[in-house]
Symmetry: C2
Subunit: 148 residues, 2 copies
DNA sequence: CTTTACTGACTACAAGTGTAATCTTAATTT
DNA sequence: AAATTAAGATTACACTTGTAGTCAGTAAAG
């Protein structure tokens, strides 16, 4: 099956490559390399390696076009972002996620529309939000307050 | 200097160890190992290795207590969470961060108080929020719409 | 005092990652 | 046709990470 494989694990450096391909929708290696050489001080072979790994991982597809390849993203940017973020949060203490989000929101510059959307979604959650979310760092439930 | 070293890079597996020590405030290896063996199917030596790496990285401090060590976190949990999350977001396209946050918020269970706090902070941002946040995936500014 | 058991140290090892050089083949230029 | 260039493939290599075995020393038990 695997209708939508969001599974591919993309490393930090590879993420940079994906970002330009996502933005361009599709690109040949010459273009990718030119753009990334400007952003980082990466050598061309470094970028080639990253592209190759992304193809092997299934994150980029290739279409032979004459002598070269055209690379196309095989995973959606937004889906990858959502998954990465959620994965990160889910490995942290549940009790502190809310505070982390608040701190992060304070540090980010979000558009007016995004802030508005967030508020709307949060207000909808208010009704059903639990009074508290317990710490889930220990196997049994010490409620985050069992002293050693 | 280095008054507050939030720099230490903590891997996924190491994060699990930190979570129990953060929650217990301090612990000896016996306790850490007992708890983690219950959560994962890790062998004791695996956990010992992780503890050792965290000590080397400066994320845990040791206090000799008789034959054993007492391990104490050297970085704050909330600060580490904030930094990890912000770091993750900052390596993603600025234009899509807001949407990612919305999606993530929809998937998380946050406490009533946390949701309320988030709303408050977001409402404060509304006033100064820019109309839009441009894509920053390309070196020059193609506004996320330059076709290949 | 000797044996046992547990703690921490050392060693191991494959996979992933960041970074890059070199090689090969095919195309472009002279 | 020969020489140069460029694209992708192959190879390299150190460091991190996940996972774990083994060893050594000291304290506890007999």
């Amino acid at each position: 099956m695997a209708t939508t494989e969001v599974t591919a694990t993309i490393s930090d450096a590879e993420w940079r490559v994906m970002r330009v391909v996502w933005t361009l929708k599709q690109a040949d290696s010459r273009t990718i390399i030119a753009l990334l050489e400007k952003q980082h001080d990466w050598k061309a072979p470094t970028i080639k390696t990253l592209i190759g790994r992304l193809v092997k991982k299934g994150a980029l597809a290739t279409t032979k076009q004459g002598r070269q390849f055209i690379y196309t993203p095989q995973i959606q940017e937004q889906a990858a972002m959502d998954a990465a973020l959620l994965g990160e949060l889910n490995q942290m203490c549940a009790m502190h996620r809310g505070t982390a989000l608040t701190h992060v929101v304070d540090q980010l510059e979000l558009s007016h529309a995004d802030v508005q959307t967030l508020i709307t979604h949060l207000e909808q959650q208010l009704a059903t939000a639990p009074a508290s979310v317990p710490c889930d760092c220990l196997p049994d439930d010490c409620e985050g307050s069992c002293e050693a």
